[in-house]
Amino acid sequence: MTPTVGGSGKVHDNEMRRRESLAAGVFLLPSFVLFAAFVLGPIVFSFGLTLFSWDGLSSATFVGLDNYRTLFQDPEVHTVLINTGIFVVGDVAAKMLIALTLAALVHRFLTRWLQTIFRGIIFFPVIVSGVAIGIIWQWMMNTSLGLINYYLVEIGMQPIAWLDSSAHALSSLIVVDVWRSVGFSFVVFTAGLQGISAQLYEAAAVDGASEWSRFWSITLPLLSPTTYFLLVINLINAFQFFDLSYVMTQAGPGDATRTIVYYIYDTGFHFFRFGYASTLAIMLFAILAVFTMIQVRMSRRWVFYQ
């Protein structure tokens, strides 16, 4: 006789599920409290602030949608969006390409021992303070007194106004930011490369595939989840770029290196217009959300999971 699963068994299952849910809730509670206090709360508060005019000192005044109206009429928003767009494209593309190239070369040609040293060297700037990096590079890139121009002049070239001209300042910041943070992408790409089975390359080599075809047909597709992850992270970081511009160019010359986050900082903490600063922050949030959604959608076409 087979045992029957009667009503009492269902009750028991339900009881078990209830207890598990309760336990899960208890375990999740501390995280949720922290999330609510430090993430959700400030987001909701920021949304609320967009409807007010507030200087952080006196009481806030309800202004309805005025801050949103200002957002669409503010010519500075146009400038900072263009600057940020250029920075994001240049910074993310350079970082991804350089990191992938370096990771592939190091993985392919260096011994394990040399790989470790090389990884350490490339990753080192990631752990250095952005302000310290900014100060050092600001001195190196100084038009009249900097180390880089000193050597350019020594070899008979004209000095370049790295940080003092609108034509070069943003590109100079991209160069420094890529130098500063390419190590992170490099390490993640290296980890991705190490996860690809050597057998696949051996099989391809036996079939006569060239080095380039192996990279194109095996490495790149199998690295796509890593590439996707880095693309999302680097894009978000690039949109939030601030520190090097603050230290090295103070958003100048003129507004040449003023990015969205710089403008949010100035509006909030320099001009004490926290309502409008929150509106700008919400705009950035919306831009990031849209870009991330596009990436998620697009990823279905080009990201392959083994």
Partner: protein, 448 residues
């Protein structure tokens, strides 16, 4: 030397405990003897002692924030100790903050206030006076000044009234000036002598200045160090040409005045036409001190650094005249008391200490900015170097305050942005001033 052992959790160690117990016992025995001898007088004495004890226990801890350098921090710690030695119930923790522009400093202060960590006393300058008044952050001092009129009479008779004017806003006085700055040219005397450049006279012209800078540049060092950013070092040149950035009511832009164009053209030419100045750099004073720049413009604030670096090959002269109706600029340092400071009375005692001749002499001798007191500003023991120090206080006869409306931070941001474009040679002085004018109109229309 015996070192005192640290105690845990603030509890007294055995030795301190025994010493205190002995003191209390001795005090009690003394009080007992007084009571026995004169009961009524003893009661009064007891009240007085009790009051003193209570006051001694209630030490007021003040927080004072002001801009400055690492060397200033050491000096201020010493002044704080000297003040506490005279006023044992008041301790002043001084926090000296390194700044690049006044607006970034005010941003820091207001963020502290908004975060509920307002200092009791806040070092500001003319640049922040109206901003602080508009935000209603400063305690009006008029009643205290009136109450202590006799004590402060000497101070008020020893200062030029211009120095307190920036802090009289809406009929209220929010601070007492203790030091100030104008803008003068610092020049390397050794370099001038070596190159045969005549000692600059008070009425030297822009052309005289360019000639001197060209000779210096030709000999190796840079002729002049351009001001890196901020309003003070830009508007001073407009004043030197007889111009102004705002009208006297600080509500209208006068940026497009032709005199301002002369001044901005002069600065742009120094770098791009005459090539006697490198790109503006924050290190301009260090370069001057190192002998890599022949001239720079500043107030008296670099003197402290020059003294500590034992650099003395310099003197000062007024900015060259760029046009008729030239003026000198000035900005005053003062220390408002935060309106909700819990120890306002004690903070006021500290402000009165900063107004004393004794403090101002000592502070000036360390190389601080120009003292508010006339007698100290003309005292060569306190003011040398530089040797031509008399031009500092003399300049007050023809000075105009830095334009500092309540929207100072926004204004400074606009000024710096346009100035950096000018210095990058990406805009003509005329176009720069037109753009600045448009920005200033928007900024001044904003409610603070």
């Amino acid at each position: 030397m015996e070192q005192q052992k640290p105690t845990t959790s603030g509890a007294p160690d055995r030795r301190t405990f025994l010493t205190n117990t002995a003191k209390i016992a001795a005090g009690a025995a003394g009080a007992g003897a007084i009571v026995a001898a004169n009961p009524i007088g003893a009661m009064a004495e007891q009240d007085r002692l009790r009051s003193l004890t209570l006051r001694a226990k209630a030490v007021a801890n003040l927080n004072f924030i002001l801009p400055g350098s690492t060397a200033d921090q050491v000096n201020w710690n010493n002044f704080s100790k000297q003040f506490t030695a005279k006023n044992p119930n008041i301790k002043v923790a001084v926090q000296v903050v390194s700044i690049t522009t006044w607006s970034s400093y005010f941003a820091k202060i207001l963020t502290q206030v908004a975060g509920g960590k307002a200092p009791d006393i806040i070092g500001i300058a003319t640049e922040g006076a109206r901003l602080f008044a508009a935000k209603d952050l400063a305690l009006p001092l008029d009643d205290l000044i009136k109450r202590d009129e006799a004590e402060l009479g000497d101070f008020f008779s020893d200062i030029n009234p211009k120095l307190i004017s920036p802090f009289k806003i809406g009929g209220k006085t929010i601070a007492l000036p203790y030091s100030w700055n104008n803008m003068v040219i610092f020049y390397n005397t050794k370099m001038f002598k070596k190159l045969g450049i005549p000692t600059p006279k008070a009425n030297w012209t822009g052309q005289d200045f360019i000639s001197a800078a060209q000779k210096i540049q030709a000999s190796g060092p840079f002729g002049y160090g351009l001001w890196p950013s901020g309003t003070f070092g830009i508007v001073c040149w407009m004043y030197a040409a007889g111009g102004a950035m705002l009208d006297p009511t600080l509500t209208k832009s006068t940026a497009t005045l032709p005199q301002n164009e002369v001044a901005m053209q002069f600065l742009q030419d120094l770098r791009w036409k005459y090539k006697v100045a490198p790109a503006p750099t924050d290190a301009y004073l260090t370069l001057f001190q190192a002998g890599r720049m022949g001239t720079v413009s500043a107030g008296r604030w670099p003197v402290a650094g020059f003294i500590s670096a034992k650099f003395s090959d310099y003197d000062v002269q007024y900015l060259p005249t760029l046009g008729p109706g030239r003026k000198n600029i000035f900005g005053v340092g003062a220390n408002p008391i935060y309106k909700n400071a819990p120890h306002a009375e004690e903070a006021w005692t500290f402000l009165k200490y900063l107004a004393t001749k004794e403090f101002q002499e000592a502070n000036t001798a360390l190389g601080a900015s120009i003292p508010a007191r006339r007698s100290v500003a003309y005292d060569m023991h306190a003011m040398v170097p530089p040797h031509n120090f008399r031009i500092y206080y003399d300049s007050l006869n023809s000075t105009e305050a830095i334009p500092a409306p309540a929207q100072f931070n926004e204004m400074e941001s606009a000024v710096t942005a346009q100035y950096t474009k000018l210095m990058a040679n990406e805009i003509t002085p005329k176009a720069m001033l037109a753009a600045l004018d448009a920005q200033l109109k928007t900024v001044l229309a904003q409610k603070v």
